[in-house]
């Protein structure tokens, strides 16, 4: 405060001795600790909202339409503590405030969000429930969004109910969202915190310099060597959420002689387990960027990222399991040779290499051209329990073997299974008790039993019964784009971009570990010819084959098996946007066009889907083409410098991701029937208030989605209405024509009540609901080759009655109040109290279809009671909960070094809470659901829940130089 007052005086002094006729506000910004100029600092005259960025020498100059009188200059850059300088502007004079300083933000909040994201990615099953959007928001300075990023992210809260796939993440202007599911794969650049401080975030569909954007906003992470301030940092973090330790070292050269600059980082994150048992963490990240400023106009940058990580996963558990084992419980691990071993490991290794060319065609026109190549694989392991031995009798094959699911939480291992009858006998109670004790005392994976089993079979010359299978996605993606930024006039800016992405994605299962065996017979143990089969014996004999062209193959470790196909995806897009700035109003208009094609290429000919084409599995599928476009526009109306109205509106269509484009990609070429591009309309309107003390925003938003699609995979027992033997089938569930509506209000308010104390509040109240009854159909190999049913099964009118249900995904309401104290003596502490409510379970779609009411003969159950059905199908709302988080830190300057620490404690009160969950579709008809829900000793197939973490901490110590 004292410093800024001095500057204020300086400003006046300089202005007095100025002889210029023009009214000019100019100055420069330096790093408060190193004294070096900082480029790319955003300078805003608050009254008019005019903004500029500092150049390479840290300088800026406002020459047009400079407002007179008392003004406030806001100086901000990601990674630094924002400052506001009061100045007085007199007509015809120059205000020169050179030497303003920005202090490096030592609070390191970003480490927090990285942890949250890691947790979520850890659990993500591509189910859309567990992914978290908060990473996208970390660069935002908006009060509400930073609350969402830092304090709401521990739960599944999503601003405006939006999914990760609704936000774009760019690195150096290159889109990083995966084409498979549209979501950014955060693990690909995890552990690089020190070099990801330069981020540009644009909220929602507002104007963005790089691309058309998406509903949740666009975050461009600048990882360009010349943009890093000179210096290094070494830090060590300790935590108990996902990793236990992290070491990180980075150094950036700043601009060197000869126009070179470079930046390097190495980090390692590790841990035997996080908050949840057995979730190991093993990640190494390396980063290098080198840039050469060729001349005034051209600069060439190379950025390479290698972020490898291996993590043990955990999963959602039922109420019963939670009751017996607690929220830390994770069924996926077991002891092997005295060490924890997790059966579900996710390993990500997808390096990114990019070349970025920056061309300042003129001082007002800039062209950035990028080439990026990403390659590598994501592998998820699981235990395969379907190993068999081939027996050939008179030319006919049989496959002997297979084992029950060895998962410790398998329903037949739990007490509820033994007590499912209305009047359990003493024997039932005995079994339940023994099962309960066994589960409480052990309840983990029995690796020894798997090895023992394989060893027994090996001794008899048999194959592995159990194996560790990895589901592998091996991608190679090239991206080319050019981004133009042209100032057509002082108040008109044109942004345009062209992009081309081409992806070749190989998808296959791989034998990771034969668990002591010698080979795995690559056939589908569950394949069998149905009684109502319409196929020839020769075709039937091959049903079990993963690859008819290479039948009864024994797969060894490292071999591909089960399924093997390529997915090719190409996207061409073009984007243009014009931004206009006037005294009272700023506005923008933007448009986008794209062409997307997907094609599957089967490398195996699956026994169930012999031949090629859409009905087969071998060779190329039909090509899927999507033409998409979007328009958007918005304005900011400056009532006064303190009061602003901001409105954004957009309409666009979006190609479905690869994930929902093929109904059963592992086994067949079949495309989803009725697949359309999603149509989205969105509008939001904000009132923004800012005074030197208070900053506030209130936004109302509405987004409508039509023609959405989704796909799910599960085992169900309740398809008896189809005449399928006992109603059991492993199915693919395809939803199309999904309409959703997201409406709500979000509020953020911040008051700097004293120079050291800041109070803040944030709230979001929304309603995210389905607006129609989407189309639902099931496919399954159990439906094939039958005379009595079609391969695509629908129920009743072909829809599922979701109208009015809430879209699952975190609390619809979130509230925060908090305060921050920032002592001039370089320490700070903050506390927030966060309240969440109105979170809903992800409902079973099958149970909301006509299948729910259908008896085995297709007619309605004779005891069907609509009132009771309504009760059974009511969407579960999770309990409200409150999380209190404390954050604090301190730093010291010792000679040329800065030493500091930063710590947080989350969920201080150790609140038990459910963050999300889903109903199982295993039971999906009235009688069975009613029976299961009314069992005295709890349901056998109850919903599965994600439980939030208890009290956790994070501590980071660092040295900066």
């Amino acid at each position: 405060m004292k410093k800024s007052f001095l500057l204020f005086l300086f400003g006046i002094a300089f202005s007095l001795i100025s002889f210029a006729q023009q009214t000019i506000v100019k100055g420069s910004v330096l790093d408060g600790t190193t004294g070096e100029p900082i480029p790319d600092v955003t300078i805003t005259i608050e009254e008019t909202g005019q903004t500029l960025k500092t150049d390479a020498r840290g300088e800026f100059s406002f020459t047009q339409n400079v407002p007179l009188g008392e003004q406030v200059l806001k100086i901000e850059k990601v990674g630094y503590v924002t400052k506001r300088y009061p100045i007085i502007v007199n007509e015809g004079q120059t205000v020169d405030i050179s030497g303003m300083t920005l202090d490096f933000d030592t609070s390191d909040k970003k480490d927090l969000y990285i942890i949250s994201i890691s947790d979520d990615n850890l659990n993500s099953e591509d189910d859309g429930i567990t992914d978290n959007i908060s990473g996208l928001l970390q660069a935002s300075r908006d009060v509400f969004l930073s609350a969402a990023a830092f304090d709401f992210s521990a739960t599944f809260f999503r601003p405006r109910g939006l999914d990760n796939a609704n936000g774009k993440v760019l690195i150096n202007g290159v889109e990083m969202n995966k084409q498979f599911n549209g979501r950014p794969q955060w693990g690909n650049w995890g552990g690089l915190n020190d070099v990801q401080r330069n981020q540009e975030f644009s909220m929602g569909m507002s104007a963005n310099d790089y691309n058309f954007g998406d509903l949740a906003g666009t975050n461009n992470i600048m990882m360009r060597a010349s943009k890093y301030r000179r210096g290094g940092r070494i830090s060590y973090a300790s935590a108990n959420r996902s990793y236990q330790g992290r070491v990180m070292a980075s150094y950036s050269s700043g601009l060197l002689e000869g126009g070179w600059s470079y930046s390097v980082l190495g980090s390692r994150r590790f841990g035997e387990e996080g908050f949840r048992d057995g979730t190991l963490y093993d990640a190494n990240s390396f980063f290098v960027a080198v840039e050469k400023q060729i001349n005034d106009k051209h600069s060439l940058n190379f950025t390479g990222i290698y972020a490898q990580n291996r993590r043990g996963r955990s999963t959602a558990i039922t109420e019963e399991v939670f009751r017996l084992k607690g929220r830390e419980y994770n069924p996926f691990w077991g002891i092997q040779n005295g060490e924890q071993r997790n059966s579900r490991i996710r390993e990500i290794e997808e390096p990114i290499l990019m070349l970025n060319h920056y061309w300042d065609i003129s001082p007002k026109i800039k062209l950035n051209t990028n080439v990026a190549y990403q390659f590598g694989e994501i592998a998820n392991t699981r235990i395969d329990n379907g190993g068999t031995r081939l027996v050939t009798i008179n030319g006919e094959d049989a496959y002997l073997g297979g084992a029950r699911n060895p998962d410790p939480t398998y329903y037949q291992n739990l007490p509820s299974f033994f007590l499912q009858d209305a009047n359990p006998t003493a024997y039932d109670y005995q079994q339940a008790f023994l099962a309960e004790q066994d589960f409480i005392n052990d309840g983990q994976w029995d690796w020894n039993a798997l090895y023992e089993g394989n060893a027994t079979l090996r001794a008899q010359g048999g194959n592995s019964l159990y194996a560790l299978q990895a589901d592998v996605v091996k991608d190679q993606q090239w991206t080319f784009n050019s981004i133009l930024d042209a100032e057509l006039a002082d108040n008109i800016r044109l942004n345009a971009a062209v992009n081309y992405r081409t992806l070749k994605s190989e998808n296959f299962a791989r034998v990771e570990d034969l668990l002591g065996g010698t080979g795995y017979l690559d056939v589908d143990f569950f394949a069998e010819e149905d009684d109502n089969s319409t196929i020839s014996d020769e075709v039937a004999a091959n049903l079990a084959q993963s690859d008819v062209r290479n039948p009864n193959r024994i797969a060894g470790e490292g071999d591909r098996y089960k399924y093997n196909y390529e997915m090719n995806a190409d996207v061409v897009s073009a984007f243009a946007q014009a931004q206009f700035k006037y005294n009272k109003i700023d506005f923008y208009l933007g448009a986008n066009m794209s062409q997307t094609t997907y094609q599957r290429n089967g490398l195996y000919e699956n026994g169930f889907f012999q031949g090629g084409g859409n009905d087969g599995s071998f060779g190329e599928s039909d090509q899927l083409d999507f033409s998409n476009f979007g328009v958007k526009g918005g304005f900011t109306y400056k009532v006064t410098g303190k009061h602003l109205i901001d409105v954004n509106a957009s309409y666009f269509t979006k190609a479905p991701p690869i994930r929902t484009s093929f109904s059963n990609a592992r086994q067949s070429n079949a495309k989803v029937i009725g697949l359309e591009s999603e149509k989205i309309q969105s509008v939001d309107a904000s009132y923004i208030f800012r005074s030197p003390i208070v900053k506030a925003r209130v936004t109302g938003f509405y987004t409508g989605f039509q023609d959405g699609s989704d796909i799910g995979f599960y085992f169900t027992e309740d398809l008896a209405g189809l005449g399928i033997d006992s109603g059991d089938a492993f199915v693919q569930e395809i939803l199309t024509n999904i309409e959703r509506r997201h409406v709500g209000v979000e509020v953020g308010i911040e008051a700097q009540v004293t120079p050291t104390i800041k109070l803040k509040g944030a709230a979001s109240v929304g309603q995210y609901t389905f607006q129609n009854n989407p189309n639902l159909y099931l496919t399954s190999v159990d439906f094939l080759n039958r005379s009595d049913i079609e391969p695509e099964v629908t129920f009743g009118d072909g829809t599922t009655q979701l109208d009015g249900y809430h879209v699952a995904g975190g609390p619809e309401r979130a509230f925060q109040i908090g305060f921050e104290y920032r002592d001039p003596d370089f320490w700070n502490i903050g506390i927030t109290s966060n309240f969440f409510s109105n979170a809903y379970i992800d409902v079973s779609n099958l149970a909301r279809s006509a299948n729910f009411t259908s008896d085995f003969d297709g007619n309605t159950f004779n005891d069907y009671d609509p009132d009771e059905a309504r009760e059974l199908l009511k969407q579960e709302q999770f309990d409200d909960y409150m999380l209190i988080n404390i954050i604090g830190g301190k730093s010291w300057k010792i000679n040329d070094y800065f030493v500091g620490f930063f710590a947080t404690i989350n969920n201080v009160l150790d609140e038990d809470y459910i963050t999300g969950g889903f109903e199982q579709s295993r039971l999906a008809n009235f009688r069975r659901v009613q029976e299961d829900q009314s069992r005295d000793n709890g349901p056998v197939f109850g919903p599965r829940y994600f439980f939030g973490n208890g009290t956790t901490y994070y501590l980071n110590v660092y040295v900066r130089f």
């Binding site: 070292a249 035997e272 291996r310 092997q336 027996v391 006998t425 020894n448």
Partner: protein
Amino acid sequence: MSEQYKLQKMKTLKINKLILLLIGLVVFNGCVEDDDFDTPNTSIVEPNISETAKVQISSLAGELAQEQGNGALDYTDEETTFSYAFNENDLFMEGYVVSSDEGGNFFEEIIIQDNFENPTIGIKLLIDVNPLFVRYEPGRKIYVKLNGLSVGITNGVLTLGALNGNEVDKIPSAVEGDVIFRSADIQTLVPMPVDFADFTDDKTNLFLQLQDVQFNRNIVGDNALTYASEPSDEFDGERTLESCAASASVIFSTSTFADFKGLTLPSGRGSMNVILTKDFFGEVFNVVINTPEDINLDSTDRCDPDFLECTDPSGGGSAIFEEDFEGFGTYASEGWDNINISGTDTDWFISSFSGNFYSRISAFSSGNSEADVWLVTPAINMDGTTGEELSFDVQANFDNGTNLSVWVSTDYAGDPTTATWSILDATIPVGPASTFGNFETVGPINISCVDGDMVVGFFYEGSDPSATTRYHVDNVVVTGN
């Protein structure tokens, strides 16, 4: 300038050292378990069981027999059980595993016999564990700790398990490791040869060899059945296995959950290794295999009867004899004979369903262990016609094996035991085990080589409870030109 540059360079060097140090830390930090796990030691440690604690299967049978109040075991007494007390006095039953659930034909049970060769008694151990073959493979010697377990008769065989009310049920999976102990001793099982006629209760739960056998002619060949994946198979597929050495048959039973249920029954003749057990009701002997590899029916020289083989062309004629049993009087009044040659009371009779009349027979619940019954048509003169064919409809219900055959005779004089009969190559349909089947037409069968006055005989060979299939016969037609 150069001074400053030097300073900067020095600083950079220092920093580089720090970074090197950190990268070193990163590389050598091995505190996370990597994915190279050593294979755990899976070798079997011989359990330390004193000789005095070892108990033979025969001893369990003896305890149960005593509990039943008999000198010998009563295999029909499914009420009585004997339980071993929980006390310090540990007892271990020893035996060799003979069953395997690898193929899914056994489920949550282990069949154990007292020796790997020349066994004298076997027992079925029920346990709620699946799969079992990964630890208790055939030939493996195991010990079962008896404390707290119960022995009794279930489904007609000696069974060991946990007491559930008054019957022996599965041992809970959680205590598997406290109950079953594996010995390192593993032997090649030697199946004990046995004739069908020697099937006795005390041979159940044993690994036996059946020599010179074949599947019934009606279920192999052109319309061969699978082991157990016919639409009519529920729970088990029951197939008639015949002995060539003696005129005897047994039910060969396969679970509909077996991995090999879809294989076609082999048509040849030879031997097979089986486990003798009983059907679900504990009444009828069944034989069950572990894997189809236990079957060795390699000889194509089947031991089927010599069928009447007419080679002249046949067909295209009109009916010279026809009986649909509509408006039928009595067998006697219509010139038919209905004769039980066993002297028991099972007989053919006229029955109807939905207005359709037919001849019906079944030995079910008759209590007649012998129920061989002939139904003989009136004489049909074959001299005036050529190219004759016989056809008829059969509905097989509650099928537990094919026990109907069709014969012709030209010297029949009222006593089927003295007439000369020629068996016809008639494929009798196989019906569902637990419900009604559908009428299926059998034939037409070429009988053009028969001349003179011919009768057709439907011969039912019943035995309650093992051969009780209920047949309905209708629309017997002989055509000729």
